[in-house]
């Protein structure tokens, strides 16, 4: 016996979760198998569609304008711009109040922890009051124990970058924390549970103490930005509470990894998966596959559960195992390859052609990944589908450079959505 479903999604990142949700919406019985946690925990939680063109033009005001001009083989070109819109709507439904930005096609400009602004299509509600297009004066608050966010420097950068408001930054001590290297989850937990903390003024609660610490620094500003550590499970409440106490709007500045907004997005997606009846298996990898007579059709895949090999069978499969970081694409000295199905990954045979010396240059390895047809089926060296019932989505795809284009989440969403929809429609038959 194998464990059986209509659709099996391999990989639990943004692409995999979206694919599973889209397939479930088609009425299919879906299972998602994911080995490790996804890159969402590193990402800012912003949903970038396209910030820069592959040629480096930007920041783009309207990403949809630029979608039409993308080169052949780019994941957006494969699915078409209508699918990108549908995928964003699909996301908006899932995210509900937790995300903003759906009211316009234009990119929003979100200040980041370095004081730059980032063009993005959807942003967590926690960042909404901080948008750079809003001209209210801003106080940024950093913490001594969080060196990744230097508020005064970030404020200076924002002003130098021509932000239409005055920005000021202060650095304070986070009340109640003694560790210099406390985890971001520790800050969030203190605020979520409004735990008791001891300050110079005596025993109080974390939110109270934080508001008290910041109050003295506030001048005429009507909004205050904190690094993105304001709660995890109760983030909206923490933000509102701090805002009430300070009498201003409070927002979060997205941070580098590990990122709470990324974790909150992960939670949101996994709650939605549970809601949709998707069966989720985590902590174990898919390691192999088997065909059954017909070599162009995957019959089952093998999940390695600490040595025991458990077969999982489905009618349709979606491969969403990520890129070089997610381990969906691997490399050795001699070759670059996709480890589960050994799908074709085009790359120069000489490894010294995989990168260029200029670190900021146009890196070929950044585009490594699977070429696919318009159905998102991986193609072999002869441009034929590798398997009739396998689709691929997200960072495992080739032909784009998410870091340079600022397109990571958008591509994962759009391709996950399309792959999931198609797999669900076929698998649920």
């Amino acid at each position: 016996m194998a464990i059986e479903d209509d659709v099996l999604v391999i990989g639990g990142g943004l692409a995999g979760a979206t694919a599973a949700l889209a397939a479930a919406e088609e009425g299919a019985q879906v299972r998602l198998v994911s080995y490790k946690q996804s890159t969402l925990r590193h990402a800012s939680g912003l949903i970038d569609v396209l910030g820069y063109t592959p040629a480096g033009e930007g920041p783009l005001v309207d990403p949809f304008d630029a979608l039409e001009g993308l080169p052949d083989g780019h994941p957006y070109e494969r699915v078409g711009s209508e699918a990108v819109r549908e995928a964003l709507e699909f996301f908006d439904d899932i995210a509900g109040d937790a995300y903003d930005g759906a009211h316009t096609d234009a990119n929003a400009l979100v200040p980041t922890h370095g004081g730059t602004v980032k063009p993005t299509a959807r942003y967590p509600a926690s960042t909404a009051e901080g948008l750079a297009s809003d001209d209210r004066d801003t106080l940024l608050v950093g913490f001594e124990t969080l060196p990744d966010f230097e508020a005064p420097l970030a404020a200076a950068h924002l002003e130098a970058a021509g932000a239409p408001f005055a920005a000021r930054g202060v650095t304070v001590r986070f009340p109640g924390l003694v560790r210099d290297d406390a985890k971001v989850t520790r800050y969030a937990h203190l605020l979520d549970h409004d735990e008791a903390v001891t300050t110079a003024a005596g025993e109080t609660t974390a939110r109270d103490a934080l508001a008290e610490t910041v109050r003295g620094h506030l001048e005429d500003e009507t909004r205050v930005g904190f690094p993105a550590i304001l709660g995890d499970d109760h983030a909206a409440e923490v933000r509102a509470d701090l805002g009430d106490r300070l009498g201003v709007d409070v927002f979060e500045v997205p941070m580098g990894p590990p990122s709470l907004p990324g974790m909150r997005l992960e939670d949101l997606l996994y709650d939605a998966l549970q809601e949709a009846g998707v069966r989720v298996t985590t902590g174990v990898p898919v390691v192999d596959y088997e065909t059954d007579g017909d070599a162009t059709r995957i019959d089952r895949v093998v999940v390695d559960r600490h040595g025991a090999e458990v077969p999982h069978r489905a009618d349709q499969y979606v491969l969403a195992t990520g890129g070089l970081v997610g381990k969906g694409v691997e490399s050795e000295r001699e070759r670059v390859f996709e480890p589960i199905f050994d799908c074709h990954v085009p790359h120069a045979s000489d490894r010294y052609e995989w990168f260029v010396d200029d670190v900021f240059g146009d890196q070929p390895y950044a585009r490594f990944g699977l070429p696919v047809d318009r159905e998102l089926r991986p193609l072999d060296a002869g441009d034929e589908p590798e398997f009739s019932n396998l689709r691929a989505a997200g960072a495992v795809l080739g032909g784009y450079d998410f870091a340079a284009e600022k397109s990571g989440s958008g591509v994962s969403l759009a391709t996950g959505y399309v792959a999931g929809r198609r797999a669900g429609a076929e698998g649920g038959e």
Binding site: M1, R41, K118, M263, R279, T281, V284
Partner: protein, 443 residues
């Protein structure tokens, strides 16, 4: 490397002086702790650590693992004593995108710490040794179960435990059953089904032997109902509490017995099944990571979770279709133990129970119960343990159910302790559905 930033060098792990060729790992493995070099400091592990989330003094898995090993390699550094604050929940293991073997590093570091730095006459050492070697004391307790339960329940005993040994007085000691699983098994005359083709060896572990034999009995009835011949080989503690307390030598002795006995059962054509998720975790992952007796790999590869085994080898869904259970199993708040998550068993119980009529199970989410075996029994950890458990207690109370469900004996203690609910094991629900409770009662 953050996508919150503008420069286009992000998206790639590594140092600031990023060198593209670093993205491509070399094939050769490093020495004892290969993983230290694989860590690219992304801190994903830290964000998963339930202890670091509530305890300001714990530096987190990244420090306990790769950073500590790096330091040790460079100078003659001692193991940091904070390693004893790690609960061995192994959540960090399944977090790391770079396959750093965090729990293996922690287990080894704890072993070294206890071996070389801990005073063998200290109260802490003695207490830990007692807690880790529960199995050695349990036979005594179960010889006179009623007396033991009575004495253990006395507040004076609890007070003494706390003052003398540092075992928290807040918890109720688990009760000893009046008849152990093995006594029951012998009394009924061992296996009642013979079958050369379908044979399993049951690793019952300490808890279902001494404290909850009903779980072991449920397993026997379910498996026999489906035509399996059951073996119950001699066995020792799986070692989980010993790893967690750095008693690697004790663990090694137990593991040696287990590997020998279970290996022999495999030779006899049996697969190994366990009803406790920490036991199966230990046999499957920790043994091969820490020991290399002959047969360790074979035992790991042939060990299964009891329900998982049936799903793969039987049409369990088909068997359960249309079955029903009584009112006592109506509504469950289900908690997936950390050690079940790590084995990819997180969604299993919900799936398996779905076809049974009258069972409504609600998953209470992915928080850690916080007790982690012996961890939450130590007076100095009690508060941390309950703080971690808070989220689970809240979710259990929010769920529309008054009975808890889980596969880990210590999680079940914590669930009961935090909510006052009765806690059941999945195998007991399967027994009710497949065998029926009347039949089970009469056996």
């Amino acid at each position: 490397m953050s996508d919150a930033e503008q420069p286009t060098d992000d998206g790639v792990p590594g140092d600031d002086e990023f060198e593209p060729i670093q993205v491509f790992p070399e094939a050769e493995d490093m020495d004892l702790r290969p993983g230290a070099d694989d860590c690219y400091k992304c801190s994903t592990c830290d964000t998963n650590c339930p202890v670091a989330e509530v305890d300001d003094e714990f530096p987190g898995p990244k420090f306990q693992g790769p950073e500590q090993w790096r330091l040790k390699r460079q100078d003659d550094q001692d193991i940091d004593d904070s390693v004893m604050k790690c609960s061995n929940c192994m959540r960090c293991d399944s977090a790391c995108p770079s396959d750093v073997p965090l729990s293996q590093m922690h287990n080894t570091a704890r072993g070294e710490y206890v071996e070389e730095q801990m005073d063998k006459f200290s109260r802490e050492y003695v207490r830990n040794r007692i807690l880790a070697n529960y199995r050695r004391l349990a036979p005594l307790g179960s010889m006179f179960p009623r007396t033991t339960n009575f004495v253990m329940g006395l507040s004076a005993t609890q007070w003494l435990g706390e003052k003398v040994l540092g075992i928290t007085g807040e918890r109720e000691f688990p009760e000893f059953a009046t008849e152990t699983f093995r006594e029951w098994w012998t009394k009924r005359g061992g296996a009642q089904v013979q079958n050369e083709d379908k044979r399993i060896a049951y690793f019952h572990g300490c808890y279902s032997n001494y404290n909850t034999p009903e779980v072991g009995k449920a397993l026997v009835r379910v498996y026999e109902e489906l035509g399996y011949e059951i073996m119950v080989p001699d066995q020792h503690c799986s070692g989980t509490p010993m790893f967690a307390n750095g008693m690697l030598e004790d663990a090694r002795r137990s593991a040696e017995t287990n590997v020998r006995e279970l290996g022999a059962a495999i030779e006899d054509g049996a697969d190994i099944v366990a009803s406790c998720s920490s036991c199966s975790m230990s046999l499957r992952q920790e043994y091969p990571e820490l020991f290399d007796f002959e047969g360790t790999e074979a035992v790991a590869a042939n060990t299964w979770d009891a329900v998982e085994y049936l799903r793969v080898h039987e049409d369990l869904e088909g068997e359960l279709e249309g079955t029903s259970v009584g009112d006592e199993f109506e509504n469950f708040a289900y908690h997936a133990p950390c050690h079940a998550r790590n084995q990819g068993l997180d969604g299993q119980t919900m799936e398996v129970l779905a076809p049974i009529d009258g069972v409504e199970a609600r998953d209470v989410g992915d928080s850690c119960s916080g007790i982690s075996g012996t961890y939450g029994w130590k007076a100095e950890n009690y508060e941390t343990s309950m703080k971690i458990g808070d989220e689970m207690f809240d979710h259990m109370e929010e769920a529309d159910a008054e009975t808890g469900l889980t596969e880990c004996p210590t999680c079940s203690m914590q669930m009961e302790h935090g909510t006052g609910y009765e806690i059941t094991h999945t195998l007991e629900v399967l027994e009710a559905a497949l065998v029926g409770s009347t039949e089970a009662d009469s056996q």
